[in-house]
């Protein structure tokens, strides 16, 4: 239960920091009001233009993040030193982020983790910088050295933020921590570096030219944020199209309804259990959705769409036909390769193809079987590990099936892709 404990600890720390700072600031009043107001507006704009965070968007609010971090590192304003302390920085950022998240809350999206990350990151940066600055420790530093110091502080902050984000995701979903952390860190050179650089540059520019620097500097990141929004939207429609393509075999009567979606969701869960990184999980998802496309080329459908029981040569032919279609989808050569090689013996397969093969066979075996179906199916897969099914994937599948409440005969409909806590087993004939 350490998982829950870290979750609770992080949330408590953020709440204490935020509430304490608000209280202290309320009692002592606000220093440098114009600066506080300008940064508050900037962070609010950043929050309000935030894309709806999808599973594949690491830093969904670069502008808000950069604005709040740079407020934590502001040491001067148009040539005069500033005197706001840690509590004021945290109070302003927490209050504005909370206000900016209202629309998201109204849409029923989870914003708590986002706020926790924001408050902790800003608190960290401000604690590292403001007390020392207000004591005049950096007064003797030359210009370039000071700029590099700010940058270094921000890099440190972003790295800590990545750890916090991974810990939160780990405790929310129960997925292994290491791959989550790796995915978070992989995003640091991209959007993370832009956030660091913009935060540092804004703090410096405010010190040189005053608050005019903020609107000028926020333009590139605002554009980035709008592009991210469109990217998220087009990504969503892309997934819908792939899913529709996957359903084509179901509508054509080649495969049972919901089969592709269930194989995709379960494959993702197994991939996570095996610690695959985010990009490979995406490839896995698309390949699993389209793994039966090759059947469209068959003049007569395979009975019940069950390919796992066919002779190996025919399985491979269908896989190759499917790969040819997938190559034209723009989903990338990787996805096509997984679809093509799903019927090969497992020592020659990439990991994603092994997962698709095992999960597809499991899905076909469980279909229409009674309450003992999952057990029997897993047993049959274990016996078939002599060359068809990769043993480590079968074990991962067994873990997923039994850890995620196979005992609760969940409605498969409730298991959206990427939703790990749902029953993978179905009662007889429970088609969607």
């Amino acid at each position: 239960m350490t998982v829950r404990r870290s979750h609770v600890a992080l949330h408590c720390a953020a709440v204490l920091l935020g509430a304490g700072s608000l209280l202290v600031t309320f009692l002592t009043g606000i220093e440098d009001r114009p600066v506080a107001l300008a940064f508050g507006v900037l962070v609010a704009v950043g929050e309000l233009t935030r894309p709806q965070s999808g599973p594949r968007l690491r830093e969904a609010a670069p502008l808000g993040a950069a604005g709040s971090l740079s407020y934590a590192l502001v040491g001067g304003h148009a040539g005069h030193p500033t005197h706001h302390g840690v509590t004021q920085v945290v109070a302003v950022v927490a209050a504005v982020s909370l206000l900016g998240s209202v629309p998201q809350l109204a849409r029923g999206q989870a914003v708590l983790d986002h706020l926790v990350r924001r408050v902790l990151a800003v608190g960290f940066a401000a604690v590292c910088f403001q007390p020392l600055h207000n004591r005049g420790v950096f007064d003797g530093w030359s210009g370039p050295a000071y700029a590099l110091l700010l940058l270094a502080l921000l890099v440190l902050t972003v790295l800590c933020d990545a750890v916090v984000a991974a810990a939160l995701a780990h405790s929310r979903t129960g997925w292994p921590f290491a791959p989550l952390l790796r995915d978070e860190l992989r995003a640091v050179p991209g959007i993370g570096s832009a956030v660091c650089a913009t935060g540092a540059v804004m703090a410096l520019a405010v010190a040189v030219v005053g608050l005019w620097a903020l609107p000028v500097f926020s333009v590139p990141l605002l554009l980035t944020q709008l592009s991210l929004r469109r990217y998220a939207a087009v990504r969503a429609t892309y997934r819908q199209t792939i899913a529709s393509l996957a359903r084509a075999t179901e509508i054509a009567g080649y495969t049972p309804a919901g089969h592709a979606r269930r194989v995709a969701a379960l494959s993702q869960a197994v991939g996570r259990d095996l610690g695959l990184p985010e990009p490979e999980l995406t490839v896995l998802e698309y390949a699993a959705l389209m793994h039966d496309i090759g059947q469209l080329s068959l003049v007569d459908p395979v009975p019940a769409g069950a390919t796992a029981g066919l002779p190996a040569a025919q399985q491979r032919r269908i896989a190759l036909l499917g790969g040819a279609v997938v190559r034209q989808t723009g989903a990338g050569a990787q996805v096509a390769a997984v679809v093509e090689r799903q019927a090969d013996p497992y020592p020659e397969q990439p990991v994603a193809a092994r997962i698709v093969r095992v999960v597809n066979a499991y899905e076909e075996k469980v279909r229409g079987s009674g309450p003992g179906g999952p057990l029997t199916a897993l047993e049959e897969l274990r016996l078939g590990t002599g060359g068809e099914y990769a043993p480590e994937v079968v074990e991962a599948l067994a873990r997923v099936v039994w850890n995620t409440g196979a005992a609760r005969w969940g409605n498969p409909r409730a298991s959206a892709p990427g939703e790990p806590r749902a029953g993978w087993c179905r009662t007889t004939g429970g088609t969607v």
Partner: protein, 435 residues
């Protein structure tokens, strides 16, 4: 490529001479800050290599920062090394490199001239920001206009495009991205002269680069999405041999009709998708039936007539299709109510469906299939006119006939990926001298 018109060569040489004249005053100048020129030029040259390959952008912020920091003659030196050693895909290599260097150099020089004339350099040195925006804005306008004019001239000479249209298109396309680059350049210049020095100025490039990167990602994703829509159609092709290219052409004819009726761009996009996907429901029809030679029995015909409903069902999850789905469902309805699946009459049939019905019939008549020879375009239009009012909406038939009478019918045979124009690349090779 080899056939570069002599005029275009002469023009490139003239522009190069102009650039030389523009940079000459900096050479004897003891007051030229050579280290700043060298640093900016190196930054531009290095960044250009990375940026072109990774983000498809170009480092205009660096050029503009040079224009805001340096005297015009010195600023005109900044783009030279980067452009002279840039990667060129097509012949004539030397001439292309010289052209790139020369026109960029002239444009930067002109921008710096305007900036200095409006007192911008003092404003930058004094970090006088609200005022500094004015000369910087003027300089960006001049930079953009100079690039558009020089490139437009080259397009006019090399490709015979009308000069005014080429210039206007280039100017309008690149103004917005250049304005953003100008803001970045201004901040670079201000920080460069601040106590924090060039180190802080370099940090400005990070957010710029990331915004390009995200932009490029978005376009990649969009292209992938378009390809997926086509894959849905190609899946139909796999089952049904004779439809190759049919869906694409129906999309094209639907767009022609929509344009002729004066619909707005978003509706025309919707029509394109409706046309491309109208037969996607054939995925639900048994392959054996689709490939059957010889006449179909009434029962088999009924099964095939289910395809609009299958198509409607397959595309149920694709939210952006919107109205296009109604066209997929109703493209076999007839105006007189004798069509299927619902037998709707006249204006009960959704407009996109009436468009796609005409486009579909037109392409079916003008392309060769195993059971019928292709008819000439005029004969097909005549046939459509005969059926207008009974099977087809006369408005749509008239629109198609009108569009084809004006521009002719040039069917696409293969699915050609339409490349979205990336504004940040307004001046890359594609819009540069194409010879």
């Amino acid at each position: 490529m080899e056939g570069t018109p002599a005029w275009a060569r002469g023009y490139a040489v003239c522009v190069a001479l102009g650039a030389l004249l523009c940079t000459l005053p900096s050479l004897p100048g003891a007051r030229t800050p050579w280290w700043a020129v060298a640093l900016l030029a190196a930054l531009y040259a290095g960044g250009e290599r990375i940026a072109r390959r990774r983000f498809g952008g170009t480092l205009h912020p660096v050029l503009l920062a040079g224009a805001f920091l340096l005297a015009p003659a010195a600023a005109a030196l900044v783009p030279l090394p980067g452009a002279l050693f840039s990667h060129v895909e097509r012949r004539p290599f030397l001439l292309r490199r010289v052209w790139r260097a020369a026109h960029a150099s002239l444009a930067v020089g002109a921008a710096a001239q305007v900036h200095a004339a409006l007192g911008g350099r003092e404003a930058v040195a004094g970090s006088d920001v609200p005022y500094a925006l004015l000369p910087a804005g003027a300089a960006v306008l001049v930079f953009c206009a100079a690039l558009a004019l020089l490139n437009g001239g080259m397009l006019a000479l090399a490709e015979g495009l009308p000069l005014w249209r080429a210039c206007r298109g280039l100017f309008l396309r690149s103004l917005a991205p250049l304005a953003v680059h100008g803001l970045g350049g201004l901040m670079m210049a201000v920080l460069w002269l601040s106590p924090y020095g060039p180190v802080a100025a370099l940090l400005v490039l990070f957010p710029m680069a990331v915004s390009w990167w995200v932009f490029a990602q978005y376009h990649r994703e969009r292209a992938a999405h378009q390809a997926t829509i086509r894959a849905l159609v190609q899946a139909v092709d796999i089952k049904d041999g004779y439809t190759r290219g049919h869906s694409e052409r129906v999309g094209q004819a639907s767009v022609l009709i929509g344009r002729e009726l004066g619909m707005d761009e978003s509706r025309i996009d919707m029509l394109r998708f409706a046309g491309i996907l109208h037969d996607v429901g054939k995925l639900g029809v048994p392959t054996r039936l689709l490939r059957k030679d010889g006449p179909l029995t009434p029962q088999e015909r009924r099964v095939i007539e289910l395809h609009p409903e299958y198509g409607h069902e397959i595309t149920r999850g694709i939210s952006f299709l919107g109205e296009a789905r109604s066209a997929i469902l109703h493209h076999h309805e007839r105006i007189d109510g004798k069509g299927y699946p619902y037998g709707l009459v006249g204006s009960q049939i959704p407009e996109p469906a009436r468009v796609v019905a005409v486009a579909d019939a037109f392409d079916a008549m003008t392309s060769t299939r195993c059971y019928s020879r292709a008819r000439p375009v005029q004969a097909a239009l005549e046939e459509l006119r005969k059926c207008a009012g009974a099977q087809f909406d006369p408005r749509m038939v008239a629109a198609l006939a009108h569009a084809i009478a004006r521009d002719g019918w040039h069917p696409v045979v293969t699915a050609e990926e339409d490349r979205p124009a990336v504004p940040a690349q307004a001046f890359d090779d594609r819009s540069e001298v194409r010879r």
